[in-house]
């Protein structure tokens, strides 16, 4: 392969990568677990992918009294749950909220989340603004959304 074609190939690859990086911020894999009994709190999970660096500053949903971004960590075997003020979204890297890590905490549910239900959730980003998503409620023992589009 000549240098010229090689340069062209590199250029095309770079251009297509750049093209893939543009476009709006995307929120995918949005789901929540059905809550047991009259459990007061629930958790929602999702994946955020932004072409440019951004920051998630707040979340809200009509299903709960308060909606917060939380992180769950294990210090040894001690579970600690803490509210996160904001969440930095690096450019081009998916940020995944999954069981056992970060989650959107739904505090004070009006009614239990039941499998098969859907509810709205709004994420407010510093640059991308408000993004509304629909959360699908999965089985109480789900570890992910029923349909997991691979990216």
């Amino acid at each position: 392969m000549s240098i010229k074609y090689f340069a062209l190939a590199v250029g095309l690859a770079a251009a297509s990568a750049a093209w893939a990086q543009t476009g709006p911020l995307e929120v995918s894999n949005a789901w929540a677990r059905a809550t047991p009994g009259d459990a007061a709190n629930g958790a929602a999970y999702l994946t955020i992918l932004s072409p440019t660096a951004d920051r998630l500053v707040s979340v809200s949903s009509p299903v709960s009294h308060r909606t917060e971004l939380h992180t769950m960590s294990m210090a040894g075997n001690v579970m600690q749950m803490r509210p996160l003020g904001t969440l930095d979204i690096p450019a081009g890297q998916p940020v995944r909220l999954t069981p056992g890590g970060m989650h959107i905490m739904l505090l004070g549910l009006d009614r239990p989340l039941q499998e098969g239900q859907h509810f709205p959730l709004t994420l407010n980003f510093e640059k991308a603004g408000a993004k509304s998503v629909t959360i699908a409620v999965e089985k109480p023992d789900a570890m992910g959304p029923a349909l997991t589009p691979q990216r």
Binding site: R33, A34, T35, P36, G37, D38, A39, A40, N41, G42, A43, R66, M72, M74, N77, V78, M79, Q80, M81, R82, P83, P99, G100, H103, M105, L106, L107, P140, D141, M143
Partner: protein
Amino acid sequence: MARNLSGGTSGKSAPGGSPRFVLVAAVAAALVILGAGLFLALALRDNPRGVGGTALASAIGGPFRLIDQNGQTVTDADLKGKWSLVYFGYTHCPDACPTALNDISIALDDLGPKRDAVRAVFITVDPERDTAEALKSYVTSFDAPILALTGSPEAIAQAAKGYRVYYAKHPEAGGDYSMDHSSVIYVMDPEGRFTASFTHESTPEQIAERLKKLLT
């Protein structure tokens, strides 16, 4: 670890021992400790009964007097006669606790006919909010029957102390709070002796596999 020990002690010229001797002694001590740990790990791995019958068995567990989701008194003596999987948590916990109870539920399902030989026990670390009624509605949502226990703050503290469970209230905005707590599934044998434990890293398959070995 050996380096830390020797580094900490060999720097000083201890009376009655050259730094070199102290270094050798420290390394020897470290080897003994490592050897003991290895021996214990191998002994436990080869022992299908886990630590049951060893000195460790009495280190976890202990007397308690609590009430279940139906308001009935349950003591440690009531857990005897069956294997028990004991987990401490709270119902306002949206992530770790349902995950642990689901793992238990899935593992028990996997046991097939031996399923009835194992009882799942959920003990709250949040007695203030987790009344018997709250526990009842919570645990009935899981596939496996779960014995859910609450009690006075003192009674919960005693049970947690026996199981070496740490828990603390963490205040949050709006007068709300979450609980920091040890997230461990304890396996107690039909004599009420600690036998094995699982953490958040254990999968339901691993739990089921271990239980099958214990139940043979």
